[in-house]
């Protein structure tokens, strides 16, 4: 994607993993993965169910200590500064994002508080966010009553409240209707355009094509890592879906 060529912005690495490994007893869930993610990059983290994506992601966001290997996220070491990592990243998953029985306004205020924003900052951000998403009419509605697509867009914005350096998105668009899914990706593009790194997992292979670079995990290892264009060339196929099928089916 063209943005890689733009200026110097992309040169800094915001994620560095070296031989990062996680074992559970005899089972090696993540097997010595090495990769780097640059500032402002949209990085697709793909793999079959059970390939080790979630375990790898948990180590990167500072909630699981690696068995061996090294990783630095947003400039902090995953062993020594896990707490600092949590403050400098945003995280959103399909399974947990917002509190259903709080209103839109309450959710924003609550997460703003968790992220350590001041009252004034929260108020400012809240107004901005509600206007941008066009949620003026539902600010006092419970999040439970919102359509899934709105919830996901709101959750994404909430995860960006504290202006993190990196946002981790774990299957953010599962089950969302196709129009909203695309609006969601426009938000991702915009976020990356503003310099925030986006680290995203997905099972939609057309979404893999939207990423600047993509890694594919198979049985705990990263078996491929490149731009979608290069991967398609390397595997001599026309789509990321076929790249995925070739790799994961062996």
């Amino acid at each position: 994607m063209g943005r890689i060529k733009d200026g110097n912005m992309k040169k800094t690495n915001v994620i560095k993993a070296e031989k990062l490994t996680k074992k559970f007893g005899d089972f090696t869930a993540v097997n010595a993965i090495t990769f780097e993610v640059k500032k402002g990059e949209i990085f697709g983290f793909l793999g079959a169910n059970g390939a080790g994506k979630t375990t790898a992601m948990k180590m990167l966001i500072g909630i699981s200590t690696p068995t061996s290997g090294d990783a630095e996220v947003a400039g902090f070491d995953v062993y020594k500064n896990a707490e600092a990592i949590k403050k400098n990243i945003g995280y959103m998953s399909q399974k947990f994002a917002l509190y259903d029985d709080l209103t839109v306004k309450e959710n924003i205020t609550f997460f703003g508080g968790i992220y350590g924003l001041s009252r004034t900052q929260i108020k400012e951000k809240r107004t901005q966010l509600i206007n941008e998403l066009g949620l003026q009419e539902v600010t006092n509605e419970l999040v439970a009553s919102l359509p899934l697509g709105w919830k996901q867009k709101l959750a994404f914005s909430v995860a960006l409240l504290h202006e993190p350096k990196i946002i981790f998105l774990d299957e953010p668009t599962g089950g969302v209707d196709p129009i909203t899914r695309r609006q969601f990706w426009e938000m991702i593009y915009k976020t990356a355009h503003n310099g925030t790194t986006v680290f995203v997992t997905t099972h939609y292979m057309d979404e893999a094509e939207y990423c600047d670079r993509v890694s594919i995990m198979v049985d705990g290892k990263i078996e491929a890592l490149d731009t979608p264009k290069e991967l398609k060339k390397q595997f001599k196929v026309d789509s990321m879906n076929d790249v995925f099928l070739k790799l994961a089916r062996g």
Binding site: R3, P178, R182, F244, L245, A248
Partner: protein, 300 residues
């Protein structure tokens, strides 16, 4: 007809989940219900499997009325709900035996039907269901839904959250089941799976947008779609959205799918416009319509 749905409506308090739905599924057909979360797919499944009664309208499955003959329906259909609902504390084999027993049959009697699927999890037959991986749970659930040799199989989002490889394998299994004469109604939010069904219904907000074969639905699409590419994706989307003649602008993989309001659209005009916006390496070419394009056009 294997499934007959006539003017079904269902509301939950103020939320109207299904609005006057009618369609039929033929015997032996693989019929897809395609739509996002909240479209009403699960509500319809629950009505057809007699777990829920519609406010209005009638439905029949395998010739039995969904209200009057609900017990007959239960004996003749298999249902795999979206959420894993087997007994987590029973082993793989115990679950299967349990379902065989309550339907008055044995694993041996219908082993033939589930063999292809069950052999893949048989090595783990003494493992508790709760300890299985997602893919294995899915195979066990399907085996349990088939063990009484149902006439009609209901699968509610069997592939949601499942990776492309396992999704492909699952559809191959469905095709084989169809060949054994089972009618299948399957729902999915993945538009690419629509092409694998004999006929599909596109559903959103409790309403059917269209019902037909996947090919026919694609052919009904009213416009020419163009694949557009340029050096900067985000700027390309913004510029296309700002173009006064755009009818629709949707990112599609490495391209943007674009349709124009004018019948005499000339791609060269658009290239010129995009150049003034500072974009480079612009390509525009006609492309084939997909089910997803059609869905988005109908849902607008």
């Amino acid at each position: 007809m294997s499934i007959k749905i006539e003017h079904i409506s269902k509301s939950f308090k103020e939320v109207s989940a299904l609005k006057d739905i009618s369609f039929e599924v033929k015997e032996g057909e693989l019929f897809g219900l395609i739509g996002p979360d909240g479209a009403g797919k699960t509500t319809l499944f629950r009505i057809l499997t007699t777990l829920l009664i519609a406010d209005k309208g009638t439905a029949s499955v395998a010739g039995y009325d969904a209200v009057q003959n609900y017990k007959d329906i239960r004996n003749h259909v298999g249902y795999m709900p979206g959420r894993f609902s087997l007994y987590q504390d029973l082993t793989v084999e115990e679950n299967l035996e349990f379902f065989a027993t309550i339907f008055g049959t044995t694993i041996e009697e219908n082993y033939d039907l589930i063999k292809d699927i069950y052999v893949q999890i048989e090595p783990f037959k003494n493992r508790r269901a709760g300890k299985l991986s997602g893919g294995m749970k899915q195979k066990l659930a399907l085996s349990c839904a088939l063990i009484h040799k149902p006439k009609v199989l209901f699968l509610d989002e069997p592939t949601t959250g499942v990776d492309p490889v396992s999704r492909k394998e699952f559809w191959e299994m469905l095709k084989r089941l169809q060949q054994k004469g089972i009618t299948i109604l399957v729902s999915t939010p993945y538009m690419d799976e629509a092409a694998l069904c004999d006929r599909i219904a596109l559903i959103q907000d409790g309403k059917i947008l269209e019902i037909d074969t996947p090919e026919a639905i694609i052919n009904h699409y009213p416009k020419k779609i163009y694949d557009i590419k340029a050096d900067k994706m985000y700027e390309l989307i913004l510029s296309l959205n700002a173009y006064e003649y755009n009818h629709s602008v949707y990112p599609f993989g490495e391209f943007v799918h674009y349709t124009d309001k004018r019948d005499d659209f000339n791609p060269q005009d658009l290239i010129q416009f995009l150049k003034t916006k500072g974009l480079q390496h612009i390509t525009i070419q006609e492309t084939e319509t997909t089910i997803e394009d059609t869905f988005m056009e109908l849902a607008r």
